[in-house]
């Protein structure tokens, strides 16, 4: 498989840049840049998980934001009751996400292609409306976190820079985990089920079960991303799980280059930084952003990474 042979330079460079960004940021608007890049990395985790599903398993989920929301709300609801201990809240967030993934996956994975897209959307919308009706926790208005999560009582995330590096570690961990999974026995079966599920069944794999485990893994990472998002913004709201958010996650994956993992991180960065910068130039930034999406699809197959590779090839040829 090409992922094995692909050069490691790019992912290493990405994480190096992320590790050094706070140093560069300290010369500018530090907290702002830290916040922006923290958001990039948090969405990067969710996008990674989605890339794992779409790019390796052919499972295009249009409801992935639901997991982000579940993770975020777990943190916030615990927070509202005065529990902010990571050792409690994070495992619960992951378990709840996993449960939701397991239950909805059991239903969703019965369907294929567009039907899968739509049924994941349906579950996403359901959980969105549930969150909106949680009136003790702010309903549609959302809920502010009194303070960020603590580890064994220490407010280790209170400092923006500490939060940044914590998120970076989680991103790195997620990335390495997914890389290992993709290359493992399990990953090989999962990838095979994207290529030819009938063949996989006739050589003896119960494709559904493997896909469901993969769906649970991606759901957990989505939950992790939401948990971190709640800590970074110190605020949660149902809009975290709207279908538009799920769509944005898909765009991030495609933007960077699907089926590469590190492409998802590049995609998340490109998407959020573009949104931020274009938004700074004109309030009509969508007039620019929309056509950009069209152009990327038309001319840059394989996203930004694909574009970079094809330019490199053209240069070396010429």
């Amino acid at each position: 498989m090409n992922f094995v042979r692909r050069t490691e330079a790019l992912p290493i460079a990405i994480f190096l840049v992320l590790a050094l960004a706070p140093v560069a940021a300290s010369f500018g608007a530090e907290t702002y840049l830290l916040n922006l890049f923290t958001r990039v990395m948090i969405y990067g985790i969710a996008a990674l998980a989605l890339d794992f599903l779409c790019g390796y398993g052919g499972l295009v989920s249009f409801g992935h934001a639901a997991f982000v929301g579940i993770g975020a709300y777990t943190a916030a609801i615990f927070g509202a009751h005065g529990v902010s201990e990571i050792a409690i809240t994070l495992p619960v967030a992951l378990i709840v996400s996993a449960l939701f993934a397991y239950l909805t996956g059991t239903v969703c994975l019965r369907t294929k292609s567009v039907y899968f897209i739509m049924i994941t959307l349906a579950f996403g919308q359901m959980i969105y409306f549930v969150a909106g009706s949680l009136s003790p926790y702010g309903g549609d208005d959302g809920l502010t976190l009194k303070l960020r999560s603590t580890l064994f009582g220490f407010p280790i995330l209170q400092n923006d820079r500490a939060l940044y590096y914590a998120v970076l570690l989680f991103l790195l961990g997620s990335y390495l985990l997914l890389r290992a999974v993709v290359a493992s026995r399990f990953g090989r079966v999962f990838r095979g089920s994207k290529e030819n599920p009938t063949r996989m069944a006739t050589i003896g794999f119960h494709v559904f079960s493997y896909q469901r485990v993969a769906y649970v893994i991606a759901g957990c990472l989505g939950g992790l991303s939401g948990f971190l998002l709640a800590n970074a913004t110190e605020f949660v709201s149902p809009s975290y799980m709207s279908w538009q958010r799920s769509g944005e996650l898909i765009i991030m994956v495609l933007f960077g280059g699907i089926g590469t993992l590190h492409g998802a991180i590049v995609g998340a960065a490109a998407f959020l930084l573009l949104e931020d910068m274009l938004g700074g130039i004109t309030e009509n930034w969508k007039l620019i952003f929309g056509p950009m999406l069209v152009l990327i699809v038309l001319f840059a197959r394989g996203g930004l990474l694909g574009l970079a590779t094809s330019i490199k090839e053209r240069l070396s040829r010429g």
Binding site: I14, G132, D140, F235, A270
Partner: protein, 389 residues
């Protein structure tokens, strides 16, 4: 990758460029909704503030103003990020905004803890008026409940027996109906909560028609109100019962509602025809500046926010470094509001008069017009819970 690096550099440059430039300028951030259907409200907010600055010769408190306008996209997490950018990258002294309560709740912490004053020209939630009142937060509009209370009092005073009430299913909607019921003691035919941003009210209209109420009271801001008012008129209910409302028929929605809203009532702290010279000048100036659009309360309250900043800064000699002095100046509300009587309560929410307003036709346009004063120097019901530090 290069792209990523260069964007990092660009962001960093942007940051430094902003800090290097214009030391003397007063920096004001605006957080408002400029995309989606609610953009029309957000634009009024921005326009009102810009007009205030323009009318003051481009200055507030004697200093040139640099405005940083941010679109919150009506997404709380986006708003938080934009608010942090204003504080940290742009180093603003004031943030004016937002339109929506949920955005206010989200940006309160980053703005006030970041050392800037947050001045809300619209959203005024009950929590910040009461227990969670904040020394660095000022409101130039009202407490959210109040316009609904105006209608409740009106319905009670008019001796109505049975009213059908309806609002969107979100916290402000619940506050709204609670506010109405605080003063209205007659029978509530039904209390209906519709999903936020519902478009078609056919189901609810049938229920209203069947309820045999004397009046309907609704809180359906923005596009929701446009749809409801049109459909209410089409269903033939306008001739059968009175239409009471808050934030449902105003100058931001009337261009679309037109004749359909004629004669409908609203509760407000102001109307374009409020009789004072300054207000007349504002309404005329706004129409001239913005293609003949009549300003709504969002614009006027934002204009007042500009005047508030101007007055307070003048009182401290244009300096923003002494926050305590500036806060003390702000608390005195040293400006003449377009609405006339205005002062801040201990919770930094206004104490002001409220009116029942009615939709009228002005030339080929439609506007609200003062019909009757309902409250005088009215303090919001949550102020007593505020222990300002």
């Amino acid at each position: 990758m290069n792209k990523l690096l260069s964007s990092v550099a660009a962001v960093a440059l942007l940051g430094t460029a902003c800090t290097a430039q214009a030391q003397e300028k007063l920096k004001i951030g605006v957080v408002t909704t400029l995309s989606g259907p609610a953009a029309v409200l957000g634009q009024q907010l921005r326009n009102g503030l810009q007009l205030a600055i323009k009318d003051n010769g481009g200055k507030l408190g004697g200093r040139e103003v640099e405005l940083f306008v941010q679109d919150d996209e009506l997404k709380p997490d986006v708003a938080v990020s934009k608010a942090k950018a204003l504080i940290d990258r742009d180093k603003v002294d004031f943030v004016v905004g937002p339109i929506f309560s949920n955005i206010l709740v989200a940006i309160m912490k980053p703005v006030t803890e970041g050392g800037a004053f947050l001045i809300s020209p619209n959203a005024g939630t009950s929590n910040f008026a009461g227990k969670e009142c904040n020394p660095n937060f000022f409101v130039t509009s009202y407490q959210n409940d109040q316009n609904h209370e105006v209608m409740g009092k009106y319905a009670q005073d008019a001796g109505m027996k049975k009213v059908f009430i309806m609002a969107p299913n979100y916290p402000a909607g619940k506050d709204s109906l609670a506010g109405f019921k605080r003063f209205f003691k007659g029978e509530v035919a039904d209390e209906v909560y519709v999903p936020l941003n519902q478009l078609d009210y056919s189901a609810e209209l049938s229920k209203i028609a069947a309820s045999g109420s004397e009046a309907v009271f609704v809180f359906l801001p923005g596009g929701m109100g446009v749809n409801f008012v049109k459909q209410f008129r089409q269903a033939g209910l306008a001739d059968k019962m009175k239409f009471l409302s808050a934030f449902t028929v105003d100058e931001s929605t009337l261009p679309a509602q037109k004749e359909a809203a004629l004669g409908f009532f609203g509760g407000a702290n102001w109307a374009p025809d409020l009789d004072n010279a300054q207000n007349k000048k504002f309404v005329e100036g706004y129409q001239k500046e913005y293609n003949g659009a009549i300003p709504a309360t969002y614009a006027f309250q934002s204009y007042d926010a500009g005047l508030l900043i101007d007055g307070a800064l003048k009182a401290v000699g244009g300096k923003t470094d002494n926050k305590d002095a500036l806060r003390a100046a702000l608390e005195k509300a040293p400006f003449t509001s377009l609405r006339g009587n205005f002062k801040f309560g201990a919770n930094h929410y206004p104490i002001q008069d409220f009116y029942q307003v009615k939709v009228v036709q002005v030339g080929d346009k439609f506007a609200t017009s003062i019909d009757k004063k309902v409250f005088t120097d009215y303090t919001d019901p949550h102020a007593k819970d505020c222990k300002m530090k």
